[in-house]
Amino acid sequence: MTHQYLIPRRSVLQGVGVCMALPALEIMSPAISSAAETATPIPQRLGIFHKGNGIDPSGWEATGTETDFTLSRNLEPLQPYINDIVVLSNVSNQAKGDHYGAMPLFMTGVQNRNPGQTFDQVIAEHVGRTTQFDSFQLSADPVDVRSTTLNSLAYDKEGRARFVERNAQFAFDRLFRGLSNAGTRRKMGSVLDAVREPTTALLKKASRRDKAVISTYLDSVRDVELAIEKHQQSDNARPHMNLVTDDVVQLDDFPSKMKTMTDLVALAFWTDATRVASCIMALESSRRIHDFLGLKADFHWSSHFENKKSLAEEFNSANTWYVAQFGNAIEKMKSLKEYDGSSVFDHSVLMFGSGLGHGNKHLGTNLPLVLAGGKHSGLNTGRLLTYPTQPPHANTLLTLIQHFGVEAEQYNNSTGTLDRLFHS
């Protein structure tokens, strides 16, 4: 428990007492931070934001030198944060891309339709032991029934897709309510007791095939039991918990849902529910029509703009909007203050992008990638980093893995790490 992130509960409560009537979280947080006294290390977080369908290079590519560069049309919404971001250029060398392999490419560096452990899970194994959730997965888009790899960013060691929460209200409850309540925990504990014993008996007489299925089920039971145990141990010591209200959940339309999802990532970090989170903003091969932007073509169709200007125009508008949503996530994290006055963003490394490069050509080369992070993130921000040798994307991921303290020399097809990405 050396890394446990504690804020004296009493001081939190005092803060709440003063500010209870105020509706907005942003206003409340400074009052808290001054009330807190004990300095414990604030953890590093990893947030991953993915949107499918790739980009149009003419709308995406930033221009200029490493330190003096101009953001492109797509990246324009990040202008206010230009000193907090790193734009990567010419990373990833997988010549062929396709939608089914794009999410795995984004998360493992390899286009494998049966992906192995994704890089966020490697990091989560290392930094997620003490938090309520070792990692948390969200998606703003509903399921595409054609394939799992169109719907999941995170895969565990056994290659099983991690659970993705798609309902904002449920995600909120899971993060901030539910097992946080002692009564619920007690009831859940007895219920699971009744489930576990007979299941173990069932397992003894089951065939090999049945065993495999039942053990997956038991894994899930174990996850809940671990969660209960963690809750009991930490005794509600998660910071800022009392400040989170479910006003955050807005469900009317897609932009509101997106805002909720990105806010939830920020709040999950702030309350130390998890230190690794991923959010699918748009599925691979998403056919959403962004009518709220006045667009008419569906996303996937417009990604195959060929030589049609109007389609390329629509595609770029949609992509710019997704980048703006990433900007919202940055903004939200900047607004959430830690007890020492720094922001959540200061301690976060965020990665935004797609597992497809050129959307029309289905390329796995030169992936659109933006990293963002504040002053304690270690990121070498305010840069446009171009890599002439076109290193595999696994190098980016290995760099991140090492940054989070995992001792690893190799990750999938990595050939080294990306230089200049972090302050050495």
């Binding site: 509903p142 449920f170 097992l179 007895s190 489930v195 090999r208 299925v213 056919r287």
Partner: protein
């Protein structure tokens, strides 16, 4: 508490990994191996792996169990003559025969006996979960549907918690493999079930059925609670609980009621019952079957005991647990009797619960299930949401009518009826008559959206009434059957464009049962364009696609996909017939400027002066050049001497953009000249309508769309006829495989071939009726047998 569990789970996982690890099996030692090595390894070695096939590795370590898919591919390539490729020497008939015999021995009838194939535990799909909870808790989870045309069917509690499942190799979401791969999340289950159980708080009737009393006393002793707990476990687990299990559940009741009310305690024990794998999964007893080594031993095959058969049957036909009658027949053992099974299938199909077949089997087979989701997600306009809902209902009722009126599976491809109301007919611009079926004893109708007769669509005085859809006879032969049904044309498109490729793929996969895979080595469209640029050619998209498709890697699929897809381009993205495909058709122009448009259908005639080409098709377009009144046109004829050509297609013109087209294949022995064009026209008496009629001759006639077998078609009607004549076997095979795969929850394998043949034989006499097929699947060997894995 959890420490012990983690320990147990860890042991299990350790055992699993050792058991499932790729075991090195010995090399194939059979003359076939030599043949394959000499003839195939040049391209299919471990290095070359042409087409993704590493035959060298398959031969070096022969494992018929894990590599069955690869071997089935090899068999298909060898037996069909696809491999070796055309530019190599073909295998001799003897070699092929030798391979086939060997394959049958290893994969079709291992050990010389019939095998039921693998039987994995199946987790309940979200549809099964919903139906099951409704049945065992006596609550309504399905939402209220109204008769407003703009009404979207909202998500149910279950649908809110659980996303749609990914479709498995069987083509259905009830596939045991994909269901077991999906992440199970106990917290989601627990929250969902808690919410469903809380519905009991205010439902006296349900409590009466569950506990024999509508309200529980405040004090409930363990002895009082035990029978309730036992009986609920019995219905939830589809088997009686063991004493150990019941004790655990009673313990939950005790613990929770100590801190809260007795009612809370009861609900907690019910929650524990529902969270058990015995509820979430359909676990069959595998102990009865013989031990591991028995892959080739006939003794490892056992019949499915009646209690499990009842569960298989009810989840197949109803996506729900067995009812009282099935349980009774299972208990006295008579369910295993062929006649009893047949009689039960008939009883169950007559029950409104058979709606599950149209929702799940039909819905996923023909992909119309998506329309319901599309309706719910459609925030763009109420009108579109309502339209998709109606299309979902059209498809659902059509699929069910094939069962209800005991029609052959071929009517899924082509039929002369559809389910429409006046509103929908107008949208599609269809002319219809009353439909009557020959079937003397049709099954009772299903209750759209619900599983029983008692719930009704909520009727109110809505401004936009959704009139019920009824069976109508279609007069346009292009229409009818799933191929040209509005819902199909809609799901293969996005909201604002059609996709010929997706339509072609749909026909190939859903009707002919071909499984398409994107090969690794296909040059993409862009490279094709670059190549064309080098040749200094500017191509339209269709030409580009043609060029792309003619390349070797692409042709094998595209030669099938493209003609079908482009042939169906006469329908737009909503399934409405497009008027014309050319903007300005060339040809002879005839003027039409009536003094007054007739109010009743009246013949109008024109003399065609330019010659028509015998043996080719002539198209006639009616276009408005002026005027804004609607004009109905029907019964268009071309006559010359004794030759009378008719196109009875109904159409109308409204604004200048609304055009219409009629087709006339001119017979080879007909004269080129002397033609008169006649049409029945009806208007509103207005005088401001002026029109142009274009007689488009051979310049504009389409050469037809050629299928890989050399036959070509010009209209959707001809496409359907071609499919039914040239690909009839594939259509029947696919229907059998789909229904069998749905029933077994797995894709069909080589071991299923004998069963498929038996099913085919048994349904042939009555013309391959879908009801007979369903019955034959229930009576089939794999449905009634299992073996130890």
């Amino acid at each position: 508490m959890s420490g012990r569990l983690i320990f147990t789970a860890a042991i299990v996982i350790a055992q699993l990994t050792s058991a499932t690890a790729q075991q090195q099996t010995p090399a194939l030692n059979h003359p076939v191996s030599t043949m394959l090595k000499t003839r195939c390894l040049e391209c299919h070695s471990s290095e070359a792996r042409s087409g993704g096939m590493n035959l060298e590795a398959r031969l070096a370590s022969f494992n018929p169990e894990t590599d069955v898919d690869d071997w089935a591919k090899v068999e298909h390539a060898v037996v069909s003559g696809k491999m070796p490729p055309p530019d190599e020497t073909a295998l001799t008939e003897t070699q092929r025969q030798q391979f086939r015999t060997w394959f049958d021995k290893e994969f079709v009838m291992p050990g010389g006996v019939q095998h039921p194939g693998p039987n994995r535990p199946r987790r309940l799909t979200r549809e099964e979960l919903q139906n099951t909870l409704e049945d065992i808790l006596h609550v309504d989870l399905r939402v209220t549907v109204t008769n407003s045309r703009l009404h979207v069917i909202p998500e149910t509690i279950i649908e809110k918690f659980f996303s749609a499942s990914v479709i498995g190799d069987s083509g259905f979401s009830n596939d045991a493999v994909t269901l077991s791969e999906e992440t199970i999340d106990i917290q989601t289950y627990s929250r969902c079930f808690s919410l469903v159980l809380s519905l009991l708080d205010s439902n006296e009737q349900a409590r009466q059925q569950l506990f024999g009393q509508s309200s529980l006393p405040e004090e409930v002793t363990v002895a009082d609670a035990r029978p309730w707990i036992e009986s609920f476990a019995r219905s939830a687990w589809r088997r009686p609980g063991t004493p150990q299990e019941i004790a655990a559940l009673t313990n939950v009741f005790e613990q929770v009621s100590r801190h809260g009310s007795a009612w809370e305690g009861i609900k907690a024990s019910m929650l524990a019952t529902l969270l058990s794998p015995s509820f979430l999964f359909r676990l069959e007893d595998t102990i009865a079957a013989a031990p591991e080594s028995g892959r080739t031993a006939a003794s490892s095959v056992t019949t499915v005991p009646p209690s499990e058969l009842a569960v298989r049957l009810s989840y197949f036909l109803w996506s729900a647990p067995p009812d009282e009658e099935l349980l009774r027949l299972a208990e006295d053992g008579t369910l295993q009797n062929d006649d009893v099974l047949r009689q039960q299938v008939r009883r169950m199909l007559a029950d409104p619960k058979r709606v599950a077949l149209a929702e799940n089997l039909g819905g996923e087979w023909f992909d119309y299930k998506k329309l319901r989701q599309q309706s719910a997600l459609n925030k763009r306009s109420d009108k579109m949401a309502g339209f998709y809902r109606t299309q979902f209902e059209e498809a659902l009722l059509f699929f069910d009518s094939v069962i209800r009126y005991r029609q052959p599976v071929f009517s899924l491809v082509d039929a002369d009826w559809a389910y429409l109301n006046a509103h929908q007919k107008n949208i599609y611009r269809l002319q219809t008559e009353t439909k009557s079926f020959d079937e003397p004893e049709p099954l009772p109708p299903i209750n759209l959206h619900y599983r029983d007769d008692s719930r009704q669509i909520h009727t109110q005085n809505y401004e936009y009434q959704h009139a019920p859809l009824t069976a109508v006879k279609l007069l346009d032969p292009d229409r009818g059957g799933f191929v040209t049904l509005g819902p199909t044309l809609s799901v293969t498109s996005t909201e604002n464009r059609t996709s010929p490729i997706r339509r072609g793929v749909w026909v190939l996969e859903r009707l002919l049962g071909q499984h398409l895979e994107v090969p690794d080595d296909v040059p993409d469209l862009d490279e094709t364009r670059k190549k064309a640029k080098v040749d200094n050619r500017k191509l339209t998209n269709v030409e580009l696609l043609k060029l792309h498709s003619s390349q070797a890697g692409c042709a094998s699929c595209h030669q099938f996909i493209d003609p079908i897809g482009f042939g169906l381009e006469v329908f737009d993205q909503l399934g409405i017939t497009r008027s014309i495909t050319d903007e300005n058709p060339s040809g002879e122009k005839l003027e039409w400027t009536p003094a007054e448009t007739p109010k009743s259908y009246t013949d109008q005639a024109w003399t065609v002066t330019e010659p028509l080409i015998p043996g080719k098709e002539t198209r006639v377009f009616f276009q408005y050049s002026k005027g804004r009144h609607r004009l109905n046109i029907r019964n268009v004829r071309l006559t010359s001497g004794e030759h009378v050509l008719e196109d009875r297609h109904f159409g109308f013109t409204g604004t200048a953009r609304r055009d219409n087209v009629w087709f006339f294949p001119i017979p080879g022995d007909a004269p080129a000249t002397g033609w008169t064009l006649t049409a029945e026209i009806q208007g509103d008496g207005g005088t401001d309508s002026h029109g142009i009629i274009t007689i488009a001759g051979s310049d504009n006639t389409h050469p037809g769309y050629e299928l890989p077998n050399g036959n070509s078609f010009r209209s959707p009607e001809e496409l359907k006829q071609l499919l039914l004549s040239d690909y009839r076997d594939q259509i029947t095979d696919n229907a059998i495989r789909r229904v069998l795969g749905y029933a077994l929850g797995r894709k069909t394998l080589p071991v299923d071939r004998p069963a498929i043949e038996q099913i085919k034989d048994s349904i042939r006499d009555n013309g391959f009726r879908l009801t007979d097929l369903i019955e034959a699947v229930v009576l089939s060997f794999p449905f009634r047998h299992k073996e130890a894995p």
